[in-house]
């Protein structure tokens, strides 16, 4: 049995090596020893950018590699795999999804053949089931059939409820699952060796924060996150930054949004007024503001109404 399994593994390895030969690499930067990040462009997911708008990365330990998010298309995922293979021959043991949004999970299928364990928040399978089909439909419009046809929703099999440590060999990753904040399945990854925090979309810089979970929960999470002993953060979107300074802009935006919405509700305004006016003072600080602020205001209004 062992022998047969080994042969199968070698066959898979051989096949993937061949297919990888022609695959261009995703551009990555080594921001800390053995820790690489691809910086996503601050845009919406389109055919032109292959959906590569989120920051994705990988961490190389003594024995194994962990991938943090796989990008917005299987093409991006394959290019990330090629970038890994160009830097190490160590096996990829884990693919960690920081949450279920398409720009972070649509590349999963590029990693789903090699006995890799997918890791996610305990709510991630549910989120993929309830939201994933809509994402696939919606992004077909902007990304086209070629990129979307090969997307597979690959749910995690190793679920995190609270916290979990993964060992890559002399390199320990501390995973933490958060209550609803940016989404209801946010997971952070702290590389303890270098003090680098992969925050997923719990942290946005430059790119307007996107609320798809719970505003109150997000502000609470920011309070707790600021105590995480990290030196730097890899946000879900935007540049790698010092920690916890990288939280300041997002905190200000979300607090402004919350207090503007609270005032609108207090005055008896309708939800549509929120979309037009809330957090308007933040406009000059963010990119893609018109794509996301009205949506955030709508979601925040329907939450804060219940306070």
């Amino acid at each position: 049995m062992v022998h047969r399994a080994l042969l199968a593994a070698l066959a898979i390895l051989g096949a993937s090596t061949i297919s990888l030969a022609q695959q261009p690499e995703l551009s990555v930067t080594e921001i800390a020893p053995g820790l690489f990040v691809h910086h996503g462009v601050t845009e919406l997911m389109t055919r032109q950018n292959d959906g590569a708008i989120a920051n994705v990365g990988f961490i190389i330990g003594d024995n194994a590699v962990a991938v943090v998010d796989t990008g917005g298309s299987v093409r991006e995922g394959r290019q990330l795999l090629a970038a890994i293979r160009a830097r190490t021959a160590k096996p990829i043991r884990y693919v960690i999804n920081t949450h279920g949004h398409p720009d972070h999970v649509f590349g999963n299928a590029a990693f789903s053949n090699d006995g890799i364990t997918f890791v996610g928040h305990r709510n991630l399978p549910r989120a993929l089931a309830t939201h994933g089909p809509f994402y696939i439909d919606a992004f077909r419009r902007t990304m086209g059939d070629e990129l979307i046809d090969e997307v597979r929703l690959v749910p995690p099999t190793l679920l995190v409820d609270g916290s979990l440590k993964l060992d890559l060999g002399s390199r320990s990753l501390a995973l933490r699952a958060w209550p609803a904040a940016h989404s209801d399945n946010d997971l952070t990854v702290l590389d303890e060796k270098t003090g680098t925090l992969f925050a997923g979309d719990l942290v946005f810089l430059d790119h307007t924060p996107v609320l798809d979970g719970n505003l109150h929960g997000w502000l609470s999470a920011i309070g707790e996150l600021s105590a995480v002993p990290a030196l730097r953060v890899v946000p879900g979107h935007g540049p790698v930054s010092g920690w916890p300074a990288g939280l300041a802009d997002e905190r200000r935006y979300l607090e402004t949004l919350a207090s503007d919405i609270r005032a609108l509700i207090g005055r008896g305004e309708q939800i549509r007024a929120a979309a037009d006016t809330a957090a308007a003072t933040e406009r000059s600080h963010w990119q893609l503001f018109d794509d996301f602020n009205a949506r955030n205001a709508t979601a925040a209004f329907s939450e804060i109404e219940w306070e």
Partner: protein
């Protein structure tokens, strides 16, 4: 052909109160115009008159959040018109269950504006059809672009949605320039409910999550009906209805909601004399 047949089943299912448990996402957004068939099915082919001057619908052109798209329905009949609006039906053509809601307007409440929030799955026409006391139907429509980005017509915070089940809130608003004397009121009712569309498959069991939604809501001032709503899965989570009405001097406002699992939620509130 499959598409047509499927859509008819959806409409029939919601109209007769059957859950949408086994429905799947409707295919192609722009394949054909479903309205002629919907009109036939929901309104039994009765003639449709132009709704100009009778009924108006307002929605944002782009659905910012697919799960929460505000919609306002307004009756436009002048006060001296001898006809009255009996009911308004809201149809979101391209949703899996197009008949979103039917509002029955209380005979004495003179409801003139109703705002709620709906899910919008796709680029779609949205129709509002008013039935007047003259027995005729009057139709108006608008068009909504589906939202882009990572917005889906599903729960953002599924645990919280469950925790709020059955909570009810009532709020009355001041209308500037209209004092308590006029009797004109604006109020809002909120019901905590996941209003689950049931269209998704459970990842573990591979079974469709059954639809679970508020299908009936009735609002009274004392014992006089203000508004009755027959709802479907297109109404957003935590159904929220804001409306204008004319006070009959009642001291109590009462709400009763039923959902597809047979829960009955009831609540009543004292009405502040100030109307605020």
């Amino acid at each position: 052909m499959f598409g047509l047949h499927f859509r008819l089943l959806c409409v029939a299912g919601v109209l007769s109160g059957i859950t949408g448990a086994t429905l799947v996402q409707a295919a192609g957004p722009d394949a054909y115009d479903p309205w002629p068939l919907l009109a036939q099915d929901i309104f039994e082919n009765r003639p449709m008159n132009d709704g100009a001057g009778v009924i108006a619908i307002e929605m944002p052109y782009r659905a910012e959040d697919a799960a929460i798209v505000p919609v306002t329905l307004r009756t436009l009949l002048p006060l001296d018109d001898s006809r009255r609006v009996l009911r308004i039906t809201l149809v979101i053509d391209q949703n899996p269950a197009p008949m979103a809601a039917k509002f029955e307007l209380g005979p004495e409440a003179r409801v003139s504006e109703i705002s709620t929030r709906v899910r919008v799955n796709n680029y779609t026409d949205v129709h509002a059809v008013a039935e007047l006391s003259d027995g005729k139907l009057y139709m108006t429509k608008t068009y909504v672009k589906a939202s882009g980005g990572c917005s889906a017509p599903a729960a953002k915070n599924a645990d919280e949605a469950k925790n709020r089940l059955g909570q009810m809130r009532y709020r009355q608003f001041a209308k500037p320039g209209q004092g308590p004397v006029s009797g004109f009121r604006e109020a809002q009712i909120m019901i905590g409910h996941p209003n689950n569309s049931g269209l998704q498959m459970d990842q573990v069991t591979q079974l469709y999550i059954p639809a679970f939604f508020v299908n009936e809501l009735r609002l009274w001032q004392d014992d006089s009906l203000v508004l009755a709503v027959e709802g479907g899965i297109s109404i957003s989570e935590d159904p929220n209805i804001r409306f204008t009405y004319v006070s009959n001097g009642a001291k109590r406002f009462r709400a009763e909601a039923k959902d597809t699992e047979g829960h009955l939620f009831q609540h009543e509130w004292k009405i502040d004399d100030s109307g605020i």
